[in-house]
Symmetry: C2
């Protein structure tokens, strides 16, 4: 089963500066592009939480792990991203893509913030049934910390390994990974990763899961398993469709 | 870890005659009783879908398995029960019970309508963190049928086995299991199960997951693993609290 994995960053789908504020035009456009180009492809979609969940996670201090003081923040944090997830699935339906949520809070266990267990069986069977599983950044149970935040970048890496994905894309709000001179870096591999680290510029807005460098480290890990990935600009109309057709440009992250 | 499992039927929490109609007074009362009596007990809550999901599942014919015609019914069916689930978790929070959803669609795989895989790890770790996992009747991926309906009764049985539950309660809208003369049957075991089958009366309203007899068969299966369960009236104020304290009356379902 040939599997495509696509993550769309929270900065594309939401206004990261304003708590729980979606960008419905972007959500609808991306859903339409997926509808236009999915054909019979097996797609797993992952979305960032953006301003749905990040603000709540920061307010309650969930990254520090569970305490008597912040236990009341778990449900509001999850519920916020669940609302964004429902908007995205509704948009996919409008464009003929039959998708359902697979919530990490229901299906993942972390250990010090890293995925210890992820319920691959559900994702595999939904794909086999012709349904698009949609995962997202979330709060999840943690063996050591009680609770922690799981990023969409970590999910795409773990799932791509588990499902032996054929094509992995990370849609952001920039034209791939930028050096300080604002030129897009065409490819990143173990050969140039140290130089890339020095020259990276930060991503905009609130991000409790790490910015571009954290993203690249997740994708370098994936590349070491023989699975390359493309970081591209999902804000640019047509790029999501081109990614699904294998023609999109961006930064290719690959192994040696 | 001593674990209590409590299922509250959809007929208690919703008006089964009207699509997507909750009974907010009942939801709030039950949440309050849980808040009063949970102390430091490890509780897993399961709720039926009631009129949130049953009507949609019937409308789209999801029990027949996935087809090109009904694939569009999967998300609306799940989304409906997700709304009920959010109401219940909100009510629990109001009464100081920190609960989160564990959606079967995200965490279970079926095979011909029976649970083939359930993500126990998540439920275990949430309990360890002092959080109440809340599961529910749902639509879920099925290895043979593409998709099928999973009942709360099947979930409580599978989880009780997996977690080696110490106490299992099934709260319905009747005083336990009734014979035709309307007297409650005090206990059901392999010794009287055939007689019970003959004398059972039906439960009210729409139920795509089977009525009282299906429920008893699930609980007889659980009893054969050495885990007895109590079917009791969760509509009667005080009974949920009494169940958590181990003093509630109803029908005890047990092994030889």
């Amino acid at each position: 089963m040939s599997v495509i994995m696509l993550k769309i960053g929270g900065s594309v789908l939401t206004d990261k500066q304003k708590s729980s504020t979606a960008r419905p035009d972007q959500i609808d456009r991306i859903a339409a592009e997926i509808g236009d180009s999915i054909d019979s492809k097996k797609l797993v979609l992952i979305h960032g939480a953006g301003s749905f969940g990040h603000h709540q996670a920061l307010e309650y201090g969930l990254k520090a792990g569970l305490s008597q003081a912040n236990i009341k923040g778990v449900w509001p944090t999850h519920h916020a991203v669940n609302i964004l997830n429902s908007m995205i699935i509704d948009a996919l339906y409008r464009h003929g893509v039959y998708a359902v949520p697979v919530h990490p809070l229901s299906s993942c266990v972390l250990k010090n913030g890293r995925i210890e267990h992820i319920c691959l069986e559900v994702v595999e069977e939904l794909l086999a049934a012709g349904i698009v599983p949609v995962l997202h950044g979330d709060v999840a149970a943690d063996l050591r910390k009680g609770i922690d935040i799981i990023s969409g970048d970590q999910i795409i890496t773990a799932l791509a390994k588990g499902l032996k994905a054929d094509q992995v894309g990370v849609g952001t709000n920039v034209d791939g990974v930028h050096a300080k001179d604002f030129n897009t870096i065409e490819d990143i591999s173990p050969a140039n990763i140290c130089k890339v680290k020095e020259t990276l510029i930060g991503s905009r807005g609130v991000d409790v899961t790490g910015g571009m460098y954290g993203k690249i480290m997740e994708l370098m890990d994936l590349a070491s398993y023989g699975i390359p990935s493309l970081v591209f600009n999902a804000e640019k109309p047509g790029n999501v469709s081109e990614f699904l057709q294998g023609t999109c440009k961006g930064t290719l992250i690959h192994g040696d």
